[in-house]
């Protein structure tokens, strides 16, 4: 057993760090439920002196930002952007990853190397030419345009991860399936995919959060177009237009965070795995 003062020091440090880490988010959450005058005249921590007095809290801020400030629309846009931007790249990547893992064709290793090598490209390298093409084709400011862009950016990592997962599945399984006359499609659809559920889940969660939380890609390809702007773009716009209206800004920020937090709290295991696996993505 360690000495008592040492244990005390250990707990003191860890508990203080945890509190410091949680405090900013708690402050945001508390402020988002306080009326305008209260937020602007006293610190959010003062609510704790009479916390059970529920009259000091209000839902008015949320009602205002969801309706008058258009956050409900932005939430819908975020969903419309994020769901296809998660499903499309994973489907496309799974097909390619299966070919890389279980099919024979010339230059297989070389092509896979190129795909993995594309992870190096920072997306900044692609913004200008793609935007120019998008402007010509009328894809700027459209959902299809941003779905495809997120697909392109997500593919190298998704192919890399799924190829490795597919390739690690037992070879005998595929051999006997082929012997029984299964087509490649059957082997892909009935064997590779169902056996890779954990990898697919982690990948899906990572891609979902990456797109949901993305600001740069949306700023570039959706521009300032109000009716397609996702939450992150909308929120940054509000930072400039609402200035010191902290009661509204905090509520708006919490709306953008709500879904990722739910994912985090319910699917933490997959979430952590997905984030860790995806950490090297460009």
């Amino acid at each position: 057993m360690r000495l008592r003062p040492e244990r005390f020091f250990l707990h003191a440090v860890l508990i203080s760090v945890a509190l410091i880490w949680l405090t900013p988010t708690i402050g945001l959450l508390v402020s988002s439920f306080r009326p305008r005058d209260a937020v602007l005249s006293s610190g959010w921590w003062t609510v704790f002196t009479h916390f059970w007095d529920l009259r000091q809290f209000t839902l008015q801020n949320y009602i205002e930002i969801l309706t008058a400030q258009g956050m409900a629309q932005a939430f819908r846009n975020s969903l419309l952007i994020t769901l296809p931007s998660t499903v499309i790249p994973i489907s496309v990547a799974a097909l390619a990853a299966y070919a890389f893992a279980w099919m024979d064709f010339p230059a297989r290793r070389f092509l896979f190397g190129v795909v993995v090598g594309l992870m190096i490209v920072p997306l900044q390298m692609t913004l200008i030419p793609l935007l120019r093409v998008y402007n010509r084709l009328g894809l700027a400011g459209t959902f299809i345009g941003i779905w495809l862009a997120h697909t392109g950016y997500g593919l190298p990592f998704a192919i890399y991860l799924l190829r490795n997962f597919f390739a690690a599945l037992p070879r005998d399984l595929f051999e006997s399936a082929y012997l029984d006359g299964a087509s490649q499609w059957t082997a892909f659809w009935r064997l590779a995919l169902p056996l890779s559920t954990p990898a697919l889940a982690s990948l899906a969660i990572f891609q979902f959060l990456w797109v949901w939380n993305d600001l740069l890609v949306a700023l570039i390809y959706l521009g300032g177009t109000e009716d397609v702007a996702p939450l992150t773009v909308k929120l940054t716009g509000l930072v400039n237009s609402l200035g010191q209206n902290w009661h509204l800004l905090t509520a708006a920020a919490f709306v953008t965070m709500a879904l990722p937090l739910v994912v985090f709290l319910t699917l933490q295991r997959y979430f952590v795995r997905g984030i860790l696996a995806g950490s090297i993505k460009g």
Partner: protein, 289 residues
Amino acid sequence: MRWQKSWLPWLYLSPALLILAAYLVYPTVETLRLSFYDARGETFIGLENYRWVFTARPMRIAFRNNLLWIVVFTSTTVSLGLVLAVMADRVRYESLFKSAVFLPMAISFAGAGVIWLFMYAYRPPQAPQIGLLNAILVNVFHTKPVAWLTNRHINNFSLIAVGVWIWTGFNLVILSAAYKGIPRELLEAARVDGASEWQIFWRIILPLMKPTLAVVTTTMIINVLKVFDIVYVMTNGNYDTEVIANRMYKEMFHFRNFGRASAIAVILLLAILPVMLINMSRFLENEER
């Protein structure tokens, strides 16, 4: 592998290869080309954009700040992550603790930016401070409030602190997993031999965790080179807080100078390249094992 139609693999590959060619390969080549052209991408101007990148004042500030981010952000997140991983391993509420520190990873950088704009909120000395940090300064330490985001001596550190808040949990989780991979008998044996906890940390834990520390460090450096959202949301690079990626966005969207923006992107790629190669060679090593 059994006999198959020779075109079948290409059927599976073609959607991916087409999209990769259109969204990564073509734009990369085109950006490289544009970096030698004028603002509208029409006239060849040689290395002029690169001369600008390395001499213009806003770029010098951006380079300086990215360097500051690399040093301060990387060393803080990695060392804090390591120390907390080792400490958290000794308590029963470890997973709860890790969740608390990891939580900001779920939030968008834009959301984190708003959270910290509020933490840093500044009011003149007479007014009640509604930002927590200034309230502590004024009410607990009885000093003047600090303009965290506009004071040029500290604002870069204020922004870096937000990055640290977001990313420390990531390092903590990875390093904690690596720490748990160290055989307990090794540490116990050292303790039996009379080594102090301090010696064990420096002589055993640290050397054994070197590979993971390298991965985490390179990942942090790549993040920092591309840092954009935090700066864009909180200061937009004003008051000498500019960074490379934010400057590129400005050149592209506000000044419509595609030549300069492309040159910045190329420099960013060149800066990321060596770090990324180190990281990738490690992946390949893992694969061969």
